[in-house]
């Protein structure tokens, strides 16, 4: 079990790393004329590669905070739903991860 401090450091690092990677990739694609500057306008094969990379980083982050397979899959599906409707994938990973990590002290239900 990781400490709260480790959890928050890893979450902030995950957000920073993914934003940096997105910027660097779009920059490189533009520089080498492999597609448009905007990631949404990239060719399909590059877009798939980019999506796999982002999911891979999210997977590594969720593993690093010691979530099990089903929880990881649930969070990634939720983040993909958010991304499908033009929302931010990174926040779609980090938000539910925070909710799951702090669930007993954070989530209110009728029984709690």
């Amino acid at each position: 079990m990781i400490t709260k401090r480790q959890f928050w450091i890893r979450t902030i690092a995950y957000v920073m790393v993914t934003v940096f990677i997105s910027t660097a990739i779009s920059e490189e694609f533009f520089r080498f004329q492999l597609g448009n500057f905007k990631i949404d306008d990239m060719a399909v094969e590059y877009k798939i590669g980019y999506a796999v990379l982002k999911i891979g980083i999210a997977w590594a982050y969720l593993r690093s905070i010691q979530f099990d397979l089903l929880n990881i899959v649930a969070i990634i599906i939720l983040a993909l739903l958010i991304r499908y409707f033009a929302g931010p994938f990174t926040m779609g990973i980090a938000g539910p991860a925070i909710a799951l990590y702090l669930k007993d002290s954070l989530i209110h239900t009728r029984n709690s």
Binding site: M16, F20, N71, A74, G87, M91, G95, K103, L106, I107
Partner: protein
């Protein structure tokens, strides 16, 4: 079959998280549908959405406060242009930060359900995110006006990160915000 059993077991042992996921997804879909319907409506009548309009106006005022002389502001149905003539920044619907505010609102509903404290947190979150947004666009306009590499590096590496930071900060201060709202609603 084994997978279904595993899934049932997961649901039972993660009841709270499962409730969060369902509420989060439903709230996100409902809020996104509302916003998309509003965007369809503004496109139909040929007008710019009000969020982008007010964000660009706020950025214009921020840029003036940051010392951009002769700052201009003009809006069209597809976005606004803010800054000095020849160095204008294009503020589009994608820059208005509302989709991030929707994710934050869905998170709040996912955690606390639909009630007054959640609603107050959503309102506070919305203004907090938009405050960051207005400041980052205003700063971008000022950096563009000043010229040099700072504009390029800010746009590439800090522009997106700054608005994401606002949501991470909201998540971090949520326990304090909970206490404040609880005290407010019990008065």
């Amino acid at each position: 079959m084994k997978f279904l059993v595993q899934l049932k077991h997961w649901r039972e042992s993660n009841e709270k998280f499962f409730t969060f996921i369902v509420r989060f997804a439903l709230a996100f879909l409902a809020l996104t549908a509302l916003y998309e319907a509003y965007l369809v409506y503004t496109t139909k009548i040929g007008e710019l959405d009000l969020i982008t309009y007010f964000i660009s106006r706020g950025s214009f005022e921020t840029a003036r406060l940051l010392g951009v002389a002769d700052c201009q502001w003009s809006c069209f149905y597809d976005g606004c242009y803010v800054g000095r003539e020849g160095k204008m920044v294009n503020v589009l619907e994608g820059c208005n930060g509302l989709r991030l505010a929707i994710v934050y609102s869905a998170y709040i509903i996912g955690i606390g359900g639909l009630n007054l404290p959640s609603f107050l947190q959503m309102v506070i979150g919305f203004f907090f995110v938009q405050g960051f947004n207005v400041f980052r666009i205003g700063l971008l306009i000022a950096l563009r006006d000043n010229g040099g590499d700072a504009y390029f590096y800010f746009l590439k590496y800090f522009f997106t990160l700054s608005i994401y930071s606002s949501v991470v900060l909201l998540w971090l201060i949520k326990p304090k915000l909970d206490g404040f709202i609880l005290a407010l609603t019990q008065k």
